[in-house]
């Protein structure tokens, strides 16, 4: 039995320590907000936070996590100022097209804004360029991050 702290709740899971976190989230715990994209940390669709840092759940063995807190899109606090700003910006600029990559994009954007509340274009590109979007909404994502940063002023 492994003990995981996910979205502030303790979870006991009976899995091999090699199991990727994404499998545990989706198949064991039924938390489906985090998406499977490529499975090799190349696309960012499965981005969650570990200790507040954006990580890829698909190649993060649960045995490596220990007591570090994990948060997923289900668990973000809608009253948190950064979360509120990101949600408002995403709606205002109608960022989403098909939406499959967006849980990962949003988690990456929240992690970025927590460390750099007013990021430059270069910082946004660096932090989010490993989150792929097949619909090509990159320009709207970048604009929405600036929009959210403006709301955080």
């Amino acid at each position: 039995m492994l003990s995981l702290n996910i979205n502030g709740q303790p979870h006991q899971v009976d899995v091999d320590p090699d199991t990727p976190l994404l499998w545990v989230l989706r198949d064991v715990l039924g938390m489906n907000a985090t998406k499977f994209g490529c499975g090799i940390a190349q696309c960012g669709a499965c981005t969650v936070h570990m200790n507040g840092r954006a990580v890829r759940a698909c190649n993060l063995p649960v045995g490596l996590i220990g007591e570090q807190p994990i948060s997923t899109l289900e668990g973000v606090d809608p009253t948190d100022p950064v979360v509120k700003a990101v949600q408002a910006a995403w709606i205002a600029l109608d960022v989403v097209q098909c939406g499959y990559c967006q849980p990962g994009q949003i988690m990456a954007a929240i992690a970025l804004l927590r460390t750099a509340p007013h990021p430059t274009d270069e910082q946004i590109d660096s932090a989010l360029s490993a989150n792929l979007c097949r619909c090509g909404t990159y320009m709207r994502i970048r604009a929405a991050v600036h929009h959210a940063a403006g709301a955080l002023a």
Partner: protein, 430 residues
Amino acid sequence: MRNLMHISSFLSGMPRALCGALVGGVIGAATMFVPAPHAHATPLPPNVENGRYLTRAADCEVCHTAEGGTPYAGGRAFSLPGIGVMYAPNITPDKTAGIGAWTDEQFVSAVRKGVSPHGKRLYPAMPYPAYARMSDKDVRDIRAYLATLPPSSQKTPANTIHFPFSIRSLMVFWNMLNGPAASYADDPAQSAEWNRGRYLVEGPGHCGDCHTPRTRTFGLDSSRALGGNIINGWRAYNLTSDRQSGLGAWSDAELAQYLSTGHADGHGTATGDMADVVGHSLRYLSAQDIHAMVVYLRSIPPLHTAEDMLEGTTPPAGDAALPQNTRGARLYASTCAGCHMADGTGRQSSFATITGARSLGADNGRNLVQVLVQGSGMQTATGVQIMPHFVGGGLSDRDLADIASFVMTHFTTATPHNMEQAVQDAKRAN
């Protein structure tokens, strides 16, 4: 005692159980008459736990297991350019396919002298010149541990060695030039830790087999011991105490962490064959033994080698902006930053922290290119850590070359040259 050895070789033709009982009886009788000061010379009963430990310290499993195969059942191919292909034999206790029918003396002779039963000479892909540093007692313990494994009837494929290397008896001359050393007596001028470290590094660890350059007769060049070498296309780095090209600038704690886990921040992660060495061998060694190896490695006189030089520069920590003005930088951002971040720190595990790693720049990025082309995986206490290879995933040779050039110039002060050629060479050799 000499008589005892004769008796035991005479007995070797008898069934093992009977032989064991007789030898045991003779030893028991002998012990009673041996004066106390010489009592240590009496063979001790085998210590299976010590054998298991040393089997790991000697990393027997990695070579004697085919990829994905039964552990110790042999079959791993070793391709030696110009010489041929040889296969590591089955060393499980199966009586016909394995070594179950061997006597302990035959086993000791194979491991320490390179002579298998019936006088067949082993090729030095088996590092018997290093294992000769082990004591008979330790080798017998290894045998005792191997005898506890489940027997496998897997047959070892026949070697395809070209003439004249196919004449095994010629190994006699090779052994005269490069042959097995004796086990060494402890050096009383050095600490117990140093002596234990030397035993582990030079004996079971056989570090020099990869890290020491070879002479024209393929023997280890003792004048450049542990001075770095190229093996299977990878650079096995200089382990001497030189500050710029060896381990002189590493702290004891960093070195111990690297040996026992395969990673030390500021020095990167073990890849290639070294990842296997850590994953199957070094990580099982006790903290005292790892410390002893560090003590010994510290005492290797510095030898400067240009190929192992790395003057690293490290970009600022955190989600720093990545320059996106070159193809390599853009490819790094989309292909590598998912795990290695813009600043080279591991996104979710320190095993992916690459800053300071010698592989990033030394020897024109040789190991960097190797890991891009071949990938690397390492068994750790928290699961297998994988770096996938990037061949055939829509990236051209030029893309890989541009990524390598960017990594070399962004994270180190190295000057890449002919990287596309380096990528093609690595792909051809793989």
